[in-house]
Structures are given as structure tokens and as C-alpha cells.
Symmetry: C2
Subunit: 614 residues, 2 copies
């Protein structure tokens, strides 16, 4: 790991993870689709093939990549988009001072990205250029094929795979094909967020029948942080496994900050456009208008944002349902819309203009992330009338968006005690026609600020198991402050383990292999392999070395927890060796021999025992 300075002084972390190599697995179907993964090579003593790991970190972990933050990542998908022949370059919207929260001749503190592609793309002649439109026409796009290879981790179909899991009615295949991806997209059960103006993005799918994904939130606020920090957090969060990143910036320099992030992001970028729209009206919610909001959507569409959180379900009629809540409306976007609605006594303009929003989304292939502006913000408010009224509306809007070939996912809570989580998933599937669900946690208790990555990681693992497609991370700073780099990492790792626990419990065919590889390494005292196969090799190594730092301890047949005499794994190995010796053979013979001896003893043992026991 090395920190490099980009030419304009934005340092990001590059280089492979410990023990990992970047590989590119080619597709059989498309010669130019080469899917990025990482591979962990194991100690020769293991006699095991390398373990392939799903890898959203992009070129930053490829030692051969030439990273230049001021240039941005290579436009991987541009040729695929152009080849479809349904888009056009056009001059695009002029950047206004207000886009950066400036008025008049003020200059933004954040320099404009130097290498902006001046001509954005959009659909030609009202075409829908969405993955959903192609899927419905039976087209397997390179994006879909990329996803197929990626989800399989490059493996061939598993022969004789026995499914071990409970998937609650999901339809996870043993082997993912491009055709399967197409079908899932066509049904609306999955999305590939992929704005045609974000060609740097490596395609990924969000859907119940794919690996559970996680999102990391970044973004400056009026109070703290800078563009360099946010670009670094984006790279850093994908390094540890974030599948998408939401830029939740508010305050000034918001346009320029976003451009730096999108141009350098290998993962889909999501935003909440109402935040920027509010900045454009000086923070006065009442002054918002459809015109300003629409202009903001176009601005961000041209920059390449892959999905928009749109709170079109915060209807005027529902706001009163929050009046007796313990914590009212806790979604920033939801509260802004609610204030506007009440001030004007008018319906939410994103609801009344929803069809026009769809026209924008389909012209760039921006996915809807229908926001849960009325989600509960406390255990007390979980699963209440406001929350479910909004969900019903999101279901209606999903169908409208689908009619216009727009990709859709649905945002969910929030704060929910364990016994009320499952019904959230069930209702969402029923009401929204199996559109992917994307939840924030949920937090399973309110009493542990400082540890809400864990209170919510519990809920996230459970709802992921029940069928949630993407889990929005929560960091240790939730409710308290703005996450720093360390918080981002802890949040990402916590959500990666929650998502993986969900995949395991669903019986996802590619999930358990990694657990088993870690377990074998652990049992064989291959410490380096154990570290390298783990979600965070650096922390695992550091923790090990705090008590036993010597290099020899990396091959020791014990650790500091128990010491050599009390190491159960060492004793088990001795037991096996002893049994093998007694029976002149390997485990199988030992097994049979021990069973015979033990069975023989069992009868006598029962006799010995009973008189004492009575």
C-alpha cells in the first residue's frame, strides 16, 4: 500500500491488498469485456488454488494502472455505449456559480476538474438508453455480461453443487449467465446503475438474486471536509469493498466536488439532488421549485451520476402521519420536501412531475432510488403508518417508471427492532413488484451511539438474508459527527461482513468457499493465508502482532490467546495423528477405527456410568 500524490495534490491509496493480485477474467461472449477481480494466492503447503474475490476497487489496486486523479479513470464503457448507436453528444448545460453554491463573481474554493468531457451524451430522439430497455428487447449488453462473469467470480458452472441455505423465495442460480442477468433486469428484479456519462464505472448489479451489495456514503458538509478528503474516501471505501458510493455533499463547491468524484470512480455514484437544489435557493426550502430541481437533475445527469434518490413518496397527505412520532421525519430529503409541501400546501413536486423525471432518467440511464423520506428514525417509530403509506406510493411510482423503461430500486429503513424487520422486506417485495430493496441498516436499537455500525450491521445482515439487495452502510459516527477515513473503513468492513453473512445464509453458491478457505488456513496455522483471505488483512495482521510480533509466530502452531499447551487446533491435530498412527492410515481409517473402539466402549461406558449416575 502506498499513498501517491496525484499531480494536483489529491492523495489516494493505491496498490494491491496484502497477498492479492489484480486479475482480469475475459468473457467468452464479448472479447472486450474483461472483468476485474482479485485473487489471493495461498501458501504452497495448502495445495489449494488461489481464491478469487469480488473486487469493486477499480484500477487503484492494479499496480500496473497509471493513476492520475486529474485525468480520471479510463472510459471503460464509452465504446459500448456508442456502439449501440442511440446516443448523441450535445453541448450540455453551462456550469453556473449557483451550482457550486456561489453567487455573482465568487469563485469556488474547489478547482473545476481539469479534464471535463465538454460534450455529454444523451439519448437520441427520445430513445430509452437504459439497461432495462435493452433487456426487454432481448439484448444482452456488455454491461450484463460483465455482471455475469463478475458474480460468478470467473468460475464455471458448479457441478453437483448442493445448496445450503434459506433464500425466502429468491431465485439464485448455481451459475450466472448474461442471459440470466438480462432476464432479471427485464423483470425489474435487478438494476445495473450505469449513466452513459459515467463510462469509468465497472458494471455491477443490484438485485436479490445476486450477491448482496453495500453502499458507502461520503460527502462534505457545510461544517467540515474538503474535496481531496472526499475523493480519497471514495477510493478508500471501494478499496475495502464498497459497491456503490453516494456523494451526499451539501454546502459550497458541490458541483466541482462531484465532478472530481465521478471522473475517478470505478463504482456507480448516487446522489440526492434535492440537497444541491436546496443550496441553489440559499437553504430556504420554501423557495424550491420544480424548475430548479429539474435543472439540478440535468446538471447531475450530464456529470454522470448513476442513481438519484428521489423522495417522490413524501406526499402532502402523509406528512400529518408523522406528527405524533418520537423522532418525526429523519430523512434530510424527506424533511425538506415536507417543509415545502406544508409551506405551499401543495403536493410534492417530484410526485406531480414524476413522469418528466422519468424522461430525464431514461435519456441517460440513471436509476431511480426511490427515497424513503418518511422512514422511522427510532425504534418507537418503526413500521408505522407514515412509513408504509410512503412505501405504497413507491410501489405505484415503480410501475410508472418501469412503463418508461427506467431502472428502479427502493430505499428502506432505518431504525427497526429485529422482530419487525422481516415484514419490511415482505411488504417491499409485494408492493414494489420485487424491485431491488436498498436499506439503511436498519438499526436494531437506539441505545448505542458510537456503535451504530454494529446496531445496524445486525439489522443489515438480517434484511440482506431476507432479500434486501443493497445495504447502505452506517459508520461509528452515525448520529454524532462526520465520518473520517477510519470510520469509513470500519463502516465498509462491517457491511461487507453483514452482506457476506447474508449471502451465506441465502446459500449463494459462491459465498461459502471463502469461509472454508479461511477456516482451513486457520486450522493449518497458515496465518498469512488467514490474514490475506480476510476482509481486512491489515487489521488482522496488526492484532496478531500486538501480542506475538515475531515473524516466527506467523508460522507458529499456536497463538497468544491460548499459548501452545492449550491450543485446541494443535491438540486436534495431535489427536488425528495419534488416531491415524493407531490405525495405520489417514483420517478415514482413523475414523473407522475410532468408531469401532468407541462403539465397543460405549456399551461398557454406559454400564460404568449408570450405577454412579443414579
Amino acid at each position: 500500500m502506498a499513498d501517491i500524490q496525484s499531480r494536483i495534490e489529491i492523495p489516494v491509496t493505491t496498490g494491491p491488498l496484502p497477498g492479492s493480485a489484480k486479475i482480469y477474467v475475459p468473457s467468452d461472449r464479448f472479447p472486450d469485456v474483461k472483468v476485474a477481480m482479485r485473487e489471493v494466492a495461498l501458501d504452497p503447503s495448502a495445495s489449494e488454488p488461489p481464491v478469487r474475490i469480488y473486487d469493486p476497487s477499480g484500477p487503484y489496486t492494479d499496480p500496473l494502472a497509471d493513476i492520475d486523479i486529474a485525468r480520471g479513470l479510463p472510459p471503460l464503457r464509452r465504446a459500448w455505449t456508442l456502439a449501440r448507436g442511440d446516443v448523441e453528444e450535445y453541448p450540455g448545460r453551462d456550469v453556473q456559480p449557483e451550482d457550486n453554491g456561489m453567487s455573482g463573481r465568487q469563485q469556488p474554493e474547489v478547482a473545476a476538474f481539469p479534464n471535463v468531457n465538454l460534450m455529454p451524451l444523451r439519448a437520441r430522439g427520445g430513445a430509452a438508453v437504459t439497461q432495462l430497455a435493452y433487456a426487454r428487447r432481448g439484448i444482452v449488453t456488455p454491461e450484463m455480461e460483465y455482471v455475469a462473469v463478475r458474480e460468478n467470480l470467473g468460475r464455471a458452472a458448479l457441478a453437483g453443487h448442493v445448496r445450503d441455505g434459506e433464500d425466502f423465495g429468491a431465485s439464485i442460480p448455481d451459475h450466472v449467465t448474461g442471459e440470466f442477468v438480462r432476464d432479471e433486469i427485464a423483470r425489474g428484479r435487478a438494476i445495473i446503475p450505469s449513466n452513459i456519462n459515467h463510462p469509468e464505472c465497472e458494471p455491477m448489479a443490484i438485485g436479490r438474486n445476486f450477491l448482496v451489495k453495500i453502499n458507502a456514503n461520503i460527502g462534505n458538509s457545510a461544517v467540515a471536509s474538503s474535496v481531496a478528503e472526499e475523493v480519497d474516501k471514495m477510493v478508500w471505501s471501494t478499496r475495502w469493498g464498497a459497491d456503490t458510493v453516494m456523494d451526499l455533499s451539501t454546502g459550497r463547491n458541490i458541483h466541482n466536488t462531484r465532478e472530481w468524484i465521478v471522473r475517478n470512480s470505478p463504482v456507480p455514484i448516487g446522489t440526492v439532488p434535492i440537497y444541491q437544489a436546496l443550496e441553489k435557493v440559499g437553504g430556504v426550502a420554501e423557495d424550491l421549485s420544480w424548475a430548479i430541481y429539474r435543472d439540478t437533475l440535468i446538471e447531475q445527469a450530464e456529470q454522470g451520476v448513476d442513481y438519484f434518490t428521489i423522495h417522490a413518496g413524501v406526499r402532502l397527505a402523509y406528512i400529518h402521519l408523522t406528527a405524533k412520532r418520537v423522532t418525526g421525519i429523519v430523512s434530510r430529503g424527506g424533511s425538506i420536501h415536507a417543509k415545502w409541501c406544508l409551506a405551499h400546501h401543495k403536493e410534492n413536486f417530484t410526485y406531480t412531475h414524476f413522469a418528466e423525471i422519468c424522461e430525464i432518467m431514461r435519456a441517460y440511464d440513471i436509476s431511480f432510488s426511490l427515497g424513503d423520506g418518511l422512514r422511522p428514525g427510532s425504534i418507537a417509530d418503526a413500521n408505522d403508518a407514515a412509513q408504509f403509506a410512503e412505501l405504497d406510493t413507491l410501489g405505484e411510482l415503480t410501475k410508472i417508471a418501469w412503463e418508461r423503461d427506467c431502472q428502479v430500486m427502493i430505499e428502506g429503513p432505518g431504525h427497526v427492532p429485529m422482530h419487525k424487520i422481516k415484514v419490511n422486506m415482505e411488504k417491499q417485495l409485494a408492493v414494489c413488484g420485487e424491485a431491488p430493496f436498498y436499506t439503511l441498516g436498519p438499526l436494531t436499537t437506539d441505545i448505542a451511539p458510537g456503535y451504530d455500525h454494529i446496531t445496524s450491521g445486525i439489522g443489515a445482515a438480517m434484511i440482506g438474508w431476507f432479500g434486501c439487495a443493497m445495504l447502505c452502510y452506517v459508520t461509528p459516527k452515525e448520529h454524532l459527527g462526520l465520518p473520517d477515513r477510519d470510520d469509513v473503513k470500519v463502516g465498509v468492513i462491517t457491511y461487507k461482513l453483514a452482506a457476506h453473512a447474508a449471502d451465506l445464509a441465502k446459500g449463494h453458491p459462491s459465498a461459502q468457499g471463502r469461509d472454508d478457505a479461511v477456516s482451513r488456513a486457520r486450522f493449518d496455522f497458515r496465518w498469512r493465508d488467514q490474514f490475506n483471505l480476510s476482509l481486512d488483512p491489515e487489521t488482522a495482521l496488526k492484532y496478531h502482532d500486538e501480542t506475538l510480533p515475531a515473524e516466527g509466530a506467523k508460522t507458529a502452531h499456536f497463538c497468544s490467546m491460548c499459548g501452545p499447551k492449550f491450543c485446541s487446533m494443535k491438540i486436534t491435530q495431535e489427536v488425528r495423528e495419534y488416531a491415524a498412527k493407531q490405525n495405520g492410515g489417514g483420517f478415514v481409517d482413523a475414523d473407522a477405527g475410532m468408531a469401532a473402539k468407541s462403539a465397543e466402549f460405549l456399551e461398557k461406558g454406559a454400564e460404568i456410568y449408570l450405577p454412579v449416575g443414579r
Copy 2:
């Protein structure tokens, strides 16, 4: 918080938690039963009574207590024990050099505890002096009454309490009485670990119909740590909420270390006696014998250990079932017994001598914690034949122990993917006659060493919800190294939040009050109250102050996450004020007024919407 030095240089952390006061709630039934709790006073603006919190921290958090580590805690329960008239003082066993892992004239590095009560107590004339024996005779002991007041947090019966939760067949009362505790103990559904030689212990119950408890493991190993560190960890872990502490020390000085711990512990202490027995035979498992093991039980019984993990279910006949496991036997105790069984080709001596062990347990009221020596150590091995064969035997042994009036709980796994957790609880309840279950996690994936407090916190919350009575914590160092003070705290807080999430989901009557108090404080921007009510006020404050350190920010109506313009809670308050003003009244009027306006709009809105949406 202040660190004090005891007279012999064992510093421990004392003083109240931020915003908390120690209180003692008297019992109506027994004048000398005064139950320790802590109480968090809220800001006067809240107009709310103080919040009472279950508090296992003992006198250390009482600023009026005179703490002297070299003297130990006051013998709270001694008078209760003596009053029953069924015990006798006796000279006790002489401490041997081998007890501290020494041979010949070697002196232990750890000084003997200076204030050892030279005359231990034991039952007179073969009586059973267990809480179970008294309960069966219809006696509500002071211990049971203490538990009743404690579990209620001193509140009176809840009038009109509506249960919100799913308890999977538990029988949680709205109000806990001494009689209820007695009945649960008599049925074997709960235990009060309470060795008559540990009078310093404040009574607590472990059972499915009480609050979910957590255990913290401490203990030195041959490789690291000292007695001062371990005593400090015991005090430290109970400060943050550990309900029991297991001393898993191995290596030298084990007897003296334990004495320091027990004499200063306000919570039950558990041990795994086979560890010390193994030390007495120089670490050679084959040299173990019933005589040495028995002697160790007596030694620890006289010191006051409250529960023993005894791996009597690791039967010779089951060992071969582990031969093809990915991680074999991962329990230290299990592997020691397995090695002994195989080496001698004899049945486990704790199984063959189980009745004699019961005689010891009932003479001191030591609870059985029947060990799961064959628990799975990896996802691959979860719920296998070895694990469940052992569980069946633990069920048999439970009934034998109950016949002898011994209190029993059952240890459980380990490593279990989410979809296999529930059946563990169900089988345990069925096989072991509802004896309390006490699990280690379980870890829900193996791929996150360094974060196993979280991988296991997920499983712990779930199994706690399903009915597990006590959760043994896992620290971030699990699988990697010996936990330090910070790891102990993180492990305890993680398990406290998991246990609380379980209580909430079970619908425990005293659980949600604290969540709601935190939520109200959050919504009202009572930052100090939010911190003080949380599981870890110090970390919450620290995280808040990292971005907004000014004292003014503690009363600010926003935080660094969103800043003032984007604070949803601030906007919601404005929305409510606006609505109230419009309607000339409080929330209720606002509610009605808004509903009317909204309903009126809904019709028009639907008209506005439909033409656009189609």
C-alpha cells in the same frame, strides 16, 4: 472516572459513569435487600424522570464506596447464607505449589491475596445449599428477591402495558416478583450462580424469561498478561455491563490470580477447571486423572467460583465424528478431554464421575455450565453430528444434575451461519428441558478476523432473540491475540447492544424505555442526555467532539453530519411549529388540521398527478 491505586498497586477504574448516580432500591419483602442500579438524570427541559439502568458494576461506580483491592468487596450475601443454617465453616484444602503451576520451593510471582477468608463454607450433612433446592422447597431467598427488584429496575407493575415483540414461546412477565423468580429457578429455566464462598457477588439471574445477560472472558495465558491486568479487566468489563466474568487463566499463578479476582468481583465468576488441572500435570493431557480434577474442583469451590464449565458431553464415542471436520475440535477443554479419552481409550472422566461432581456442586451451590467441547469452529462444521450428539448428552446430564438439586446452564456454539441459528435454540430447549442456553456468539461468517465481535454480535443478537439466556462476548482480537483493555470494552459494549436488541425484539417490558429516552433526547437536541443514556457515553461524546468540539455545540440544534440547513430533526420541529401555528394549537390540533388540508389536497393532487403519470 478516575483511576485509583489500590494499596498493593492494582489500579482499577472507579467512579460513576457520566451523568449517572448509583442508587440502591430496597425490597419490600426483605429489609436488608437493597438492589444496586444506576440512574441517569435528564436535562430539566426534558421534564422526564431519571432513567434507571441495570447495573452489574458493583461498588466500583459508587463514589461513596471505599474500594480496597487488597481487602476485597464487602460480603453482601454472607449473612443470608449463614441465616439459612445449613452450612458450616471448615479448614479447607491447603494451597499447594502446583495450584499456582509451581513445583517444589518455587514461589509464585503473584502474591497471595492478603485477606483470604481462611475458613470456607460448605453444606452441612450432605444438604443441597443451592438456590434450586430452596426454590423447590418454596423458599423465596434474598437472592431471588434481589433478582426480582433488579430485573424490574425498581419499577412497579406496568399498568396497561401492551407487549410489542415476538418471544418464541418465552414466558416473560410484565412484572417480576420474587415468587416468579423462585418458580423459574425451581423449573430449571433460570439459575442464580452464587457459590456460598463468593458472598461479594450481587445476585443475578440467567434465564430466558429474564433480561438477556452477557459474559466477558478474561484471564492470563502462558504467553501474556498479569494479575493486575486481569483484576482491572474484571472491574472494567463489569463497568461497561458484563453480567458475569469467566476467568480463563492458564499458565502459572492461576490460584492466586483467581483469588484476587473472586474477592473483588461483584458478578459471578466462571472457570473451566480442566485448564488448571492440566497445568497441575505439566500440560500433558494424558496425565490427567479424576483425582487431580476433583481436587481442582474443591480448590476452586472453596475460593468461590460460581459456575464451572464441565465438558462431560465430550464422550469417547463422539470424537470420531470430528475427524472429517474442517476445523476439528476448537474448544480448548474439549480437545484436552478428547486427547485424554483417546490416549487411554476410556470414557471422559467427567462423564463417568458426573454424580460425584454433582455432590460437589450442590455442597457449594456452584452452577453447572455444561460445556460444548464439540462446538463447531467454522461455518463448514456448524450443526454437525458431533455437535448435536454432544447436545443430546448434555440434555441427559442436565436431568441428572437437576435430580441432585444442582443449577445448570448449557453452553452453545460457536460458528453458525444465520440460517442455522434458530434450530440450535430449538434443539437446546427441547433436549435440555429449557435449561438456560449460554452461547459464544455465534459467528455468522469466518471471513472477518479482527471484526469477530461484529460477525458474532449478529449471531448473538439473533440467538438472544430466539431465547438464549446469556451471550458470551467475543472481542476484536478473537482468533488473533489476547484482548487488551480496549478490546474488552468493545466486546462488552457490542454484546450489551446485542443483548438489548434481543430484549427489545422479545418485547421485554423494561427494554424499550431506554431506546425511547435516547430517541427523545436526540430529537430534542439534548446532546448530553443522548450521550449519558447510551451504552458508552464517553465514546459518544468523543465522536461528537471530534467534529464539533465547542461546548455550544452540545446544545446546538444540528450536528456536523448535516449542518444546520440540512438537519431533518430541526426542519421537522419547524414543520411542527408551522403546523401548530396554522392551526392555533399543539400537535393534536396540528395533526387534525393538517389531515384535513391534506385530505382535501389528496383529491386534487390525484387529479393533477394522473394525467402526467400516464
